[in-house]
């Protein structure tokens, strides 16, 4: 074998603390190495061309590049060697950047370590075999999890491109958080007027199947062919018969149920249609509030329903589907604002969250669009907004900026003035973060035209005095303590990943960060992909973002999914397990440990033997590590290859 070794400088990233020329000189002495050199940027076009030229000039049959992590550029260099006529698996990468140059400053030690890593890579490469992928058919159907604005956009874009789409939404209606908003910044246009038509499009699109009040139960399979189980929760209403007339919601006697859609601003009934524009506009019963389902007596809704749609015996239903790709768009939830006892949220009725205030502003909300104090129903005159409640607070483990609170608070201050012209808004802020198009102008407008008073400082205490709330804070620009007598206090509550996002991440086999946000494939270059092929991200589940960004990411995720599912066949990864039948004793241990059920028992001339189902194997290597005989091996990572690496490292 003739191996070529290329030591990348990565500018000064590697060359700054590694003597690349010395590593190349050492590499030239390794077994089978026919050519070794150092190179400024191996990944750049001249670098790749130099590799190709060297392969041709020195008749190389394998290549080692010592540079950065294989995560980014292994595919790059595999293509490079392929262009020079080699098999893409006749390539090895040694990571001398993340594992060497970036972590130490001792040039001598770094150079030695880099040389050792190159020795390991070359030793493994000597045992590499040419591998060829097999192709398998793709299911041209997309699953979108989450029916907020990001999920809706992804579903519509993919459906318009001709894909079949399954949209799964946990709540009885799609629309997500945006459906709860009264107006949207910076245009102050009606949220439901712009979202409503999109929701109707979802309902009417021939390519979209909507499962509302449903959750993803389990996901198995792999890119191109995921097998998904969807739990359709019992709504106790037959949605085929239900016409959404709403008679049941008028007659239901359980009138003190928590109104989830309206954030608990007012009570609701046990059988509900969340809001007038709900999609699907179907009734559903919340079990814990229903008198019949909890106490056995009532049945009013069944009596009044003109189509006989009520079915108290309904049970959860599991729907199975095969999809080629998945978009996760599960959004966000508010952090628990009640932990800030000094603000009195949950204790004083006139301290409300921004989302509750949004429902109070909305004409379809429980107050009919009139701002009323929850305590006495009086119209407030002095309204205090407290920003960064739960944002930028390391003491509760939420050091990040939620990103949209500055803007929605400015919008709510404008709407307050529009609703109550003689009102005065006070906004306590730390920094105004408004980097979007037209955003900063908007936060100036609320101060200059709408005369909202912006106070730079946090609030330390809210306490009741008579029928007022005293808000004590600081004006750090004046350098004094300030107090406001408020009629209503609105907490601009920060956001966190949706409550059950971690559970979904485990089902989808994607990673999430310490706050529960799903991890993108690369922070800059793969913003909607995940490290699990075929699973994409859209909206706030990847990181908090406002409506325009969520919509953009929804479209981006759809584009990626369309690109994937536009292909009829996909190449399987040939780095999978294989059995050498003459060593296999048919003990079946590999069958037990395989998490993908990719190994089956076959009969070979009366002997039980293991056999790998190539299209199912994911190349995890568990069987390889388990097999007592060494009969089952993982291609590209065989025992001999690993041992060759170990031997290269432990020579003394």
């Amino acid at each position: 074998m003739r191996i070529g070794v290329f030591i990348c400088h990565c500018g000064s990233n590697i060359a700054g603390t590694v003597d690349c020329a010395a590593v190349a000189a050492k590499a030239a002495t390794y077994p089978d190495v026919a050519y070794a050199t150092d190179i400024m940027y191996a990944c750049a076009e001249p670098g790749q061309d130099a590799i190709i030229a060297a392969i041709k000039e020195h008749q190389l049959s394998g290549v080692v590049v010592a540079s950065c992590t294989p995560r980014m550029h292994e595919p790059t260099f595999r293509k490079t060697v392929e262009r020079a006529g080699l098999n893409r698996y006749m390539f090895e990468m040694a990571n001398i950047r993340e594992h060497v140059s970036w972590i130490g400053k001792d040039i001598e030690a770094n150079t030695n370590k880099a040389a050792e890593l190159v020795r390991m890579a070359a030793a493994k490469l000597r045992l590499n075999k040419e591998l060829k992928p097999k192709s398998f058919p793709v299911t041209k159907r997309l699953l979108v999890v989450g029916g907020g604005v990001a999920g809706i956009q992804a579903a519509l874009d993919a459906a318009d491109a001709g894909l079949e789409v399954i949209l799964v939404e946990k709540q009885p209606t799609i629309g997500g958080k945006m459906a709860k908003l009264d107006k949207t910044f910076p245009t102050v246009d009606c949220s439901s007027c712009i979202l409503g038509p999109r929701m109707v499009d979802v309902a009417q699109h021939p390519n979209i199947t909507l499962y509302a009040y449903s959750e993803v139960e389990s996901v198995s399979g792999y890119v191109g062919n995921f097998d998904v189980k969807i739990r359709k929760k019992a709504s106790y209403v037959d949605w085929v018969k239900c016409t959404g007339c709403g008679l049941c919601t008028e007659k239901c006697p359980a009138r003190k149920s928590y109104d989830r859609f309206n954030e608990g601003v007012g009570p609701t009934t046990a059988i509900i249609i969340p809001f007038p524009q709900a999609i699907p506009k179907k009734a559903s019963i919340e079990r814990e509030h229903c008198r019949l389902l909890t106490g056995g007596k009532c049945g009013v809704c069944a009596k009044v329903c003109p189509t006989g749609a009520i079915n108290y015996a309904m049970e959860d239903e599991i729907i199975e589907a095969r999809v080629g790709g998945i978009v996760a768009a599960t959004g966000y939830d508010l952090i628990d604002w009640k932990i800030y006892e000094e603000y009195g949220g949950g204790r004083y009725p006139d301290v409300v969250t921004s989302l509750q205030y949004e429902r109070m502003l909305s004409a379809s909300g429980p107050t009919g669009g009139h701002i009323k104090r929850p305590s006495d129903g009086v119209e407030p005159k002095d309204v205090v907004f407290i920003q960064c409640v739960g944002s930028r607070d390391p003491s509760i483990g939420r050091p990040y900026c939620s990103g949209f609170c500055c803007m929605y608070t400015a919008k709510q201050a404008i709407l307050t003035k529009d609703h109550i012209p003689d009102s005065q808004s006070y906004v306590f802020y730390m920094d105004i973060r408004s980097p979007g198009k037209g955003y900063d102008e908007f936060t100036r407008r609320v101060q200059e035209e709408y005369k909202a008073r912006y106070i730079r400082g946090r609030v330390s205490l809210v306490y009741p005095k008579g029928n007022k709330l005293i808000v004590r804070g600081a004006d750090t620009l004046m350098g004094v303590q300030v107090e406001v007598e408020a009629d209503l206090v609105v907490l601009a509550v920060g956001a966190e990943a949706a409550s059950e996002s971690a559970k979904l991440a485990e089902k989808l086999r994607i990673s999430y960060d310490s706050y529960g946000f799903f991890m993108e494939g690369h922070p800059k270059l793969k913003p909607v992909e995940t490290n699990t092929a075929g699973v994409f991200l859209a909206g706030a589940c990847q990181g908090l973002k406002d409506i325009p960004s969520s919509v953009a990411q929804g479209s981006a995720a759809a584009a990626k999914a369309i690109g994937l599912l536009s292909r009829d066949m996909l190449d399987s990864d040939p780095q999978i397990a294989f059995v050498s039948a003459n060593r296999c004793v048919g003990c079946g241990k590999c069958i037990e440990v395989c998490p993908f059920k990719a190994i089956q028992e076959i009969d070979l001339r009366g002997q039980p033997k293991a056999e790998v189902i190539e299209t199912v194997c994911q190349g995890c290597g568990l069987c390889n590590a388990t097999c007592p005989q060494g009969a089952i091996q993982l291609s590209h990572f065989t025992d001999n290859q690993i041992l060759a690496e170990v031997e290269a490292l432990c020579r003394f």
Partner: protein
């Protein structure tokens, strides 16, 4: 107001406050929550959030001469509210210690009270409230301060006219006079230890001084 030249920023003061208080002052992002909740803020010349900023900016003279550090009630509301988990109250305490070592008292009456307290302990081996009051009046020259309260307070028997002295008063007094000679100052302690060859001073000093010297070394390293 004077222009502050940022190139001449005294980082050693910031570091000294951080080392002695064990707090990372650079974590403060000036949200103002400490000032917002401070019950003494109305008396301060600089609100507490500004003291934090002045420390970040190395403004040693301004911080150690301020009234605010002496008027702080150490109620810990600032520490409780700080989103960045800085013990703001502890930082104020550190500033008081540093100011006293430099003989800076932004509020004269506080100095008088502190001296009255220490003198009372020196004489009696423990504090004696009526004595402290008398000394405080003497040091400040405010002879009629709070005297109107005496007819209400004294009959309750909570304050003894005569001090309850303890045994070992001389030893307590020795601790205080050692402190006054500057034994608590890490610099001085180091200098003295060096002069004594590291042996003599340690042997002749009590446990109290030993631990302080140890602390001083730690802080300096």
């Amino acid at each position: 107001m004077e222009t502050v030249c940022l190139n001449k920023q005294d980082n050693s003061f910031t570091r000294a406050v951080e080392e002695r208080s064990g707090q990372v002052v650079s974590r403060c992002y000036q949200c103002g929550n400490c000032t917002a909740g401070c019950p003494m803020s109305f008396l301060f010349d600089y609100p507490v959030s500004r003291i934090m900023r002045l420390i970040q900016a190395g403004q040693k003279e301004t911080v150690l001469s301020s009234k605010a550090i002496w008027l702080c009630a150490a109620c810990n509301t600032c520490t409780q509210r700080c989103p960045n988990e800085i013990d703001v109250s502890g930082v104020m305490d550190t500033c008081r210690q540093m100011a006293r070592r430099e003989n800076k008292f932004g509020v004269h009456a506080v100095r008088a009270f502190v001296n009255a307290f220490i003198d009372s302990v020196k004489f009696n081996g423990r504090s004696h409230e009526v004595g402290i009051m008398a000394l405080y009046m003497l040091y400040t020259g405010r002879f009629w301060t709070d005297v109107d309260l005496a007819p209400k307070v004294l009959p309750k028997g909570k304050m003894a006219i005569l001090p309850h002295r303890i045994n070992g008063r001389a030893e307590v007094a020795a601790i205080i006079s050692r402190y006054k000679q500057g034994f608590s100052d890490p610099e001085l302690v180091r200098a003295r230890l060096a002069a004594a060859g590291g042996q003599g001073a340690g042997a002749s000093a009590g446990g109290d001084k030993g631990s302080r010297a140890g602390h001083g070394k730690e802080a300096a390293s």
